[in-house]
Symmetry: C2
DNA sequence: TAATTAGTTCGGAAATTACAGAACCAACAA
DNA sequence: TTGTTGGTTCTGTAATTTCCGAACTAATTA
């Protein structure tokens, strides 16, 4: 099953994965660049990258790296560590970012719930087709929320 | 708790909800227009809207309505019914689109799984920080898949 | 002090997207 | 047959997004 790859081939494939991640992220609402940076920090063997290394490896401008990286830090997707006596920042993917991810997801679902609940209240005929459809939507959203709770309990109970 | 609103006020609020839905959809990857159409077909008391009525109510061009509506039909968000001897199509929201919704969700999760599994295989050191991070991601994705299965069993078992 | 490093910020080019307008078409009605 | 209804399709444009280059800054080094 597992064929043996040379290091060169392996690294080539990792590079391809980075590109694939860029495309996937791009279609999922994010930017190609942010996807590629996530991919770079996740899929390569190297564990930490400096600003300069990201620029070199992905061949994108410093300005793009700067803005994208700051956005990724803001959204808790990556983080950086520093070493004494070294001015550089060493970027790496953030591991315990699932809580933040869930938080954002919840916020969005809550907005949907709010809008749909209000819509249901405003319905003249609560038994109408559209009213029932809204109820069904609310049911789905509630289930979704429940699943997120379960996830939190299962995976994040011990995290700080 | 539930204050009594006049019909005028109620309808005014429904209109506001339609706008809010437009904004929410826009920020969630879709277009403002598609969100507004979904809102119109869901939140108003009227159960079905003709092409012309959508144009009039939302004050958007026929071309935009045409393209947006066809896209919404394609993605199973809305549908239309017809009446004998009437050339018009009557658009309404589609109710049981949860199966489709799950399907799309699964497809996306599967892509993420695929890319992450491959990335893990390609890792030189399977115990490295990044490798562990990928494993954690795969764990989360598996959990979500499981939850979706549960959902399907619980809510969609009897649907055709 | 001057030069280098590690970035940030500003302005704009290029590409993409979201719409509108107008011409068009097919079905039916007068 | 001519007009009307119910749209579709094509073209253009305004807005938005994504990215780059260049000028800038703050910290460190020579």
């Amino acid at each position: 099953m597992q064929e043996q790859l040379s290091d060169v081939e392996r690294i080539q494939k990792q590079r391809e994965l980075v590109e694939a991640m860029g495309r996937l992220t791009n279609r999922g609402g994010g930017t190609t660049l942010s996807g590629r940076i996530i991919g770079l920090l996740s899929f390569f063997d190297k564990e930490e990258f400096t600003f300069e290394e990201i620029v070199e490896e992905l061949k994108i401008s410093k300005s793009s790296v700067s803005t994208t990286i700051n956005h990724l830090i803001e959204t808790d997707k990556i983080e950086y560590i520093t070493y004494p006596g070294d001015r550089k920042r060493y970027f790496r993917i953030k591991i315990n970012n699932r809580r933040k991810f869930l938080q954002d997801m919840r916020r969005h679902v809550e907005k949907m719930q709010k809008i749909n609940r209000l819509a249901l209240e405003l319905k003249q005929d609560k038994e109408s087709r559209t009213a029932k459809s809204i109820s069904a939507m609310l049911e789905s959203l509630a289930f979704f929320m429940e699943q997120m709770d379960n996830y939190e309990k299962k995976f994040l109970a011990d995290e700080v």
